[in-house]
């Protein structure tokens, strides 16, 4: 069984890493690509690379950042391939949202989630990736810069752009 050590020096198996980061990797893939099947591909390809690279992973920085960086590169690679192919925009499959307690709550929540999804669609891919890592996944600005391999000031600029655009689009939910 392959294991590694995270920054708190706890052994983590591939299975534990998958349980801990599958949803986060799926979220990153979906938020960038806006297609649930392609986001599933991001998860699978990311963890294939995690398994291959785990023996040589030296524990530089948090393991989350390492996995997110692989996931981000996979999503961008899939995005480039998709751009080169002739695709039908109607064929995109949207994410299945978590089940809610009551029908009424479910309808309200589905409406809100659809609005949040549509609002993010107006942002560019790099801005969506930055916003997802910082404001949805909760990484620090420094860690986001490390994952995306850009400067911290570029992260801040993208975040400001994302938050302002979303503020304008979602005004009715913010009052």
């Amino acid at each position: 069984m392959q294991t590694t050590k995270d920054t708190t020096d706890q052994p983590r198996t591939v299975s534990e890493l998958f349980d801990a980061f599958a949803n986060a990797t799926y979220t990153l893939g979906y938020r960038i690509l806006r297609d649930s099947h392609l986001a599933e591909d991001v998860v699978q390809e990311t963890f294939i690379k995690v398994i291959r690279s785990l023996p040589s992973y030296r524990g530089e920085g948090p393991i989350a950042g390492w996995i997110y960086r692989i996931g981000y590169r996979e999503a961008i690679a899939i995005s480039r391939r998709r751009r080169d192919e002739v695709t039908d925009p109607e064929s995109a499959t949207f994410a299945t949202l978590p089940a809610r307690e009551s029908v009424e709550e479910s309808v309200m929540t589905q409406d809100l989630l659809a609005r949040l999804d549509a609002a993010m669609a107006e942002l560019s891919e790099p801005v969506r990736a930055t916003f997802t890592l910082r404001d949805i996944q909760g990484l620090s600005t420094k860690d986001v810069a490390g994952v995306l391999e850009i400067s911290e000031s570029a992260v801040k600029m993208r975040l400001a752009r994302a938050r302002e655009a979303l503020r304008v689009q979602l005004k009715e939910y913010l009052e």
């Binding site: 299975s15 998958f18 949803n23 990797t25 949040l116």
Partner: protein, 76 residues
């Protein structure tokens, strides 16, 4: 030194991340106490991050989770 709306606008990313210096924080608080427009804007921006923090995370569908775990030859 008095902070203006433009000054606060430039510092908004740090303000929202809670990474202003103590002096900047104090100046921002003074400005916000007297500027309704900036207060509304800051509240709305905080609302955006709160909405996505609470609702932005997605779950990998169970069927896909099982399929990928099988493909990776791991248990999940």
């Amino acid at each position: 030194m008095t902070m203006t709306c433009d000054d606060l606008d430039l510092l908004l990313p740090e303000f929202l991340d809670g990474s202003l210096t103590t002096s900047q924080e104090e100046q921002a608080a003074v400005h916000l106490a007297t500027c309704q427009q900036c207060t509304i804007e800051v509240n709305e921006l905080e609302g955006v991050t709160k909405l996505y923090k609470e609702h932005g995370m997605l779950e990998l569908p169970n069927e896909a989770r099982q399929r990928i775990a099988r493909a990776l030859d791991i248990e999940s």
